[in-house]
């Protein structure tokens, strides 16, 4: 608006200057000739000045500068912001919610004793001594309590004490509680992931950036629930110390459910550090026992050392280097390969390994990833344990699962390769398509051997040690394993580790399930037996019975039910084994 006055006010003095100049030169004509040039120059300079001033005024008047929420931003950024975690169907597994935290500014507090007296009934988690010690620190910013409940906040607010303030902070919430604790992991007080997938997403930079898109895990919440509940029930029924189970998609390597008991609540992760609460599925290594015969038989068949018709003399125990290898379900006769498998003959498995040789055995187990640490998204993992010097005796015992300790997940991944057509796929906890899984898959055994393994595993459930794993219609196939736990004084006779490694539907496997129980006891219902066929196998059946319909496995004609025996099952395979 100043600009409006420019012509009127300024024109006159400029003319005056012009006429002085003209007078000085003593030539009035020059006003006409020399004047307009200077006149224009001066007037435009002045106009420019006024334009600048005018623009600045307009700027101040029109454009409002934000006062800035700098201090709030600082207070908010103390904690990590994390993306939501969901299961494969979009159910929320973990979420960031705002919650108020209480801080104190010591300089503004008038009477520490009064503050302590008034606050301690509200902050019941802190002792008055703690509170007192915190407040006596001469600091302008003291955390008193992170993550208040809304009730606590309103009570403290109502006290109206000077020197206390609230900061809104993100806090991680796990609505499903302990159900998938070992997969999700947990966060520390600053909302940073310190275990499980939470740690993984920090490592790859998915948290604390602008776009927090929800991350879908491979977990199926319903299957996860069933596995957790059945495992918890098994822990009580069989009086076991611990238990773990996993369900894998054999074609994509996706982990649909993983449970390890005892577990903890990620909402209150202080229990997570107890050594007993480790993730047994990935971070524990165990000698799994007879389930390893699956690998030994697959090796012998795939390397051409044996066919399904090969026979092994199991009439007498093997004696080697002062050890005796004998059978638990001793048949005392010559056994064919399927018989070695379904009667779980240690002698037969040892002889198969012997026929293959140490080098072949080692190479085969390495191919299946059983001799190296398995790397998944979960940071919790452990190296397998095996003898540095792989002696002939080790070869024989490893054939039936003693002397090589691996993580159960590792064994499950290797077993998935045996039944899915021979493709070794590293398990993942994130959603993955079959095409992407195939991209990184390695062919470890031939499709023909894989078909034979499916036949053997199904046969073991219909005729062998794993009959209690059968679920009519869903065609479970699998292998039991009962291992004596190694102690300081050799293998313990009454501390057992039982496991079941199964697949369903066995004619065209889609899922692999591994259940492991630590020190189950014999109970009246099992006639005092504590071996795998009496606990791990029926637990597997209970899980499969509930999750197979959820996962869209259709029940089908079962050869066994029609009374046709294993021959019908065999006929269902595209590639006829043998």
């Amino acid at each position: 608006m100043m600009g409006m006055f420019t012509p009127k006010l300024k024109v006159k003095p400029i003319r005056a200057v012009g006429s002085y100049g003209a007078a000085g030169h003593g030539a009035p004509v020059s006003v006409e000739v020399g004047g307009p040039g200077r006149f224009l120059l001066v007037i435009s300079a002045c106009a420019l000045c006024f334009a600048v001033i005018g623009l600045r005024l307009a700027d101040i008047a029109l454009v409002e500068k934000g006062a800035g929420n700098a201090h709030i931003a600082v207070a908010d950024s103390r904690r990590y912001e994390r993306p939501d975690l969901t299961d494969r169907n979009g159910n929320i597994l973990a979420k960031d919610l705002y919650s108020p935290s209480l801080y104190a500014d010591a300089g503004q507090i008038i009477d520490v004793d009064e503050v302590v007296e008034k606050l301690s009934p509200i902050l019941t988690e802190l002792t008055p001594d703690d509170l007192d010690r915190k407040l006596r620190r001469k600091s302008a910013f003291i955390w008193l309590k992170r993550g208040l409940t809304p009730k606590q906040q309103s009570k403290i607010h109502a006290l109206g004490l000077p020197g206390l303030g609230f900061v809104r902070e993100k806090q991680r919430v796990y609505p499903n509680g302990r159900i998938a604790a070992h997969v999700l992991g947990h966060v520390n007080i600053d909302n940073r992931g310190i275990a499980g997938i939470e740690k993984y997403i920090d490592r790859i930079g998915l948290s604390n950036n602008k776009e927090l898109t929800p991350l879908a895990l491979s977990i199926d919440l319903r299957a996860q629930h069933v596995v957790s509940k059945e495992l918890a029930a098994a822990l009580i029924t069989y009086k076991a110390k611990a238990a773990t189970a996993v369900v894998l998609d054999v074609h994509t390597g996706e982990v649909l459910a993983l449970s390890s008991l005892p577990d903890y609540d990620p909402n209150a992760p202080s229990d997570a550090l107890k050594p007993d609460n480790l993730n047994r599925m990935t971070a524990g290594v165990y000698e799994l026992g007879s389930v390893f015969k699956t690998f030994t038989v697959a090796m012998a068949l795939d390397e051409g050392v044996a066919t399904l018709k090969s026979r092994y003399d199991a009439r007498s125990p093997i004696r080697k280097a002062g050890f005796k290898i004998d059978d638990f379900h001793a048949q005392r006769r010559v056994l064919t390969v399927p018989e070695v498998f379904i009667y779980s003959s240690n002698i037969g498995a040892a002889k198969m390994a012997e026929a293959s040789g140490i080098k072949t055995q080692k190479a085969f187990l390495r191919k299946l990833g059983l001799l190296d640490r398995m790397q998944t998204e979960l940071p919790e993992s452990r190296n397998p344990l095996y003898p540095k010097d792989w002696k002939p005796l080790n070869m024989l015992t490893i054939a039936f699962g003693h002397g090589l300790a691996v993580s159960p997940l590792q064994a499950a991944a290797a077993a998935a390769a045996l039944v899915n057509g021979g493709k070794m796929i590293t398990p993942t906890f994130l959603c993955r398509s079959e095409a992407r899984a195939l991209f990184s898959a390695r062919q470890v055994i031939s499709p023909e051997t894989s078909a034979k393994m499916r036949y053997l595993m199904r046969l073991n459930v219909t005729k062998g040690t794993a009959r209690k794993a059968d679920v009519p219609g869903f065609r479970v196939g699998g292998k039991t394993g009962t291992a004596e736990k190694p102690t300081r004084y050799g293998y313990s006779k009454n501390k057992l580790l039982t496991s079941f490694m199964g697949t369903f539907p066995a004619d065209a496997p889609r899922y692999l399930i591994l259940v492991m129980l630590d020190e189950p006891k014999g109970i009246p219902e099992t006639h005092g037996y504590a071996t795998s066929g009496w606990n791990a196998a029926p637990v597997t059946a209970r899980i499969v019975k509930r999750i197979a319909p959820m996962l869209g496995v259709l029940p089908a004609e079962d050869g066994e039910q029609a009374g046709a025996g294993a021959g019908t099952v065999l006929a269902n395979f595209k590639q006829h084994p043998g």
């Binding site: 409006m4 929320i92 979420k95 919610l97 319909p549 259709l554 029940p555």
Partner: protein
């Protein structure tokens, strides 16, 4: 003449100033409204987050199972309850029969299910 022109300019500038003044305050009130809406949006978004968490907390499979066992007759699906399209009887020819409620029932009790039982 020039005087009149200048006077006109003065009047014009006064009007412009007045309008600017008005507009500025109008803009300011709009800005306040926008800020209020933004705050409202943020708190709505936050409420959605809280409700989502609450929803998934209430939909815990554990709780649903407990409630289903307590208040409904729903149980885990049995194999007999699943039939394939081939197991369904063919479409009736002729006049459409009267579908009385008595014909309803579980798939497991139909022709497909009895095969297995």
């Amino acid at each position: 003449m020039i005087r009149l022109f200048n006077a006109g300019l003065v009047v014009l500038s006064l009007i412009a100033a007045g309008m600017l003044y008005n507009m500025k305050y109008e803009v300011q009130s709009y800005r306040l409204a926008v800020r209020k809406l933004e705050r409202q949006l943020a708190s709505e978004r936050e409420a959605i987050q809280v409700l989502q968490a609450e929803w998934s907390y209430l939909n815990r499979p554990e709780r649903l199972q407990r409630l289903a066992e307590q208040y409904t007759s729903l149980r885990p699906v049995r194999m007999e309850q699943i039939v394939s399209l081939d197991d369904l009887p063919g479409r009736a020819m002729g006049p459409i029969p009267d579908l009385s409620p008595a014909m309803g029932g579980y798939a497991g009790l139909g022709a497909g299910g009895s095969r297995i039982q």
